[in-house]
Amino acid sequence: MDKPDFVWENLSAGMVVGEREITVTAEMVAEHCGALGADRAWYREESPFGGPIAPPMIFINDLLAIYDENFRRFGTIHAKLAYRFHRPARVGERVHQRVTVKDLYVRRGKGWIVSELLVRGEGGDVVCTSLHTSVLSLTRAREG
């Protein structure tokens, strides 16, 4: 089935865009570190959290990945990004990710979307949350 376009008319505040479970692997951590030039023994060996952990921004692409699983998206211009790190994800841990549309608005003739990525650990506790504010293509959007 064709995915809907990532445009105003196909989105609404409160909408759950998608959910999925993924396992944080040592390979994911290595790829993340390689892409960012990051390195830390805690990511490969023991850490104060009882074993190797993932870097804080390991889920940096996952909000867009979940959008791409559910929408046809050309590219996204981000305006703001906010992260809250509750605890690091452990290497080998299975986490649950959910993306929700928190707000949609029009300002100065442009559409804006605020999306949240919520990541929970195996026990259901929050690992991290992030809020992404991006430009959204307007089609039938109206001021007010």
Partner: protein, 147 residues
Amino acid sequence: MSQGLPRPADLRPGDSLPPLYREIGWEEIRRFNRYVTGGNDTKNIHTDDEVARRAGLPRAVAAGRHPVAFIAEWMTDLLGAGFLAGGEIEVTFVKPIYPGDRLQLTATVNERAEEEGGTRLLFEVALLNQENVPVTVGSASGLLLSR
């Protein structure tokens, strides 16, 4: 990892960290894009000038969230577990970052705030390009843990 960081317990409002420098060249952008695409080289607004121009940009731009991870790693260097469990970052992307830009990361203590989990160190952070123009501005914070 960052070198020459002060002891976080010694930091007071107005103190700045020694700046950190990071290059965002084509290779770094392609490496980040491969990470995003699961190992594939793709043409998009970050990797290809022509695609970026079709999207209304003057040329390719780096993904704004790419250097935000530099801030997170920097704060982890400084605060360790106090950033990984209790840290926050909030940034606004004010100017594009272009391939070849050399970024300077700056952080100045705004406040030491007492809260239930301990003392929170709040920083004003910024990424400046090689022309000293802020491209990303915002805040970062984490908890001071006794070591």
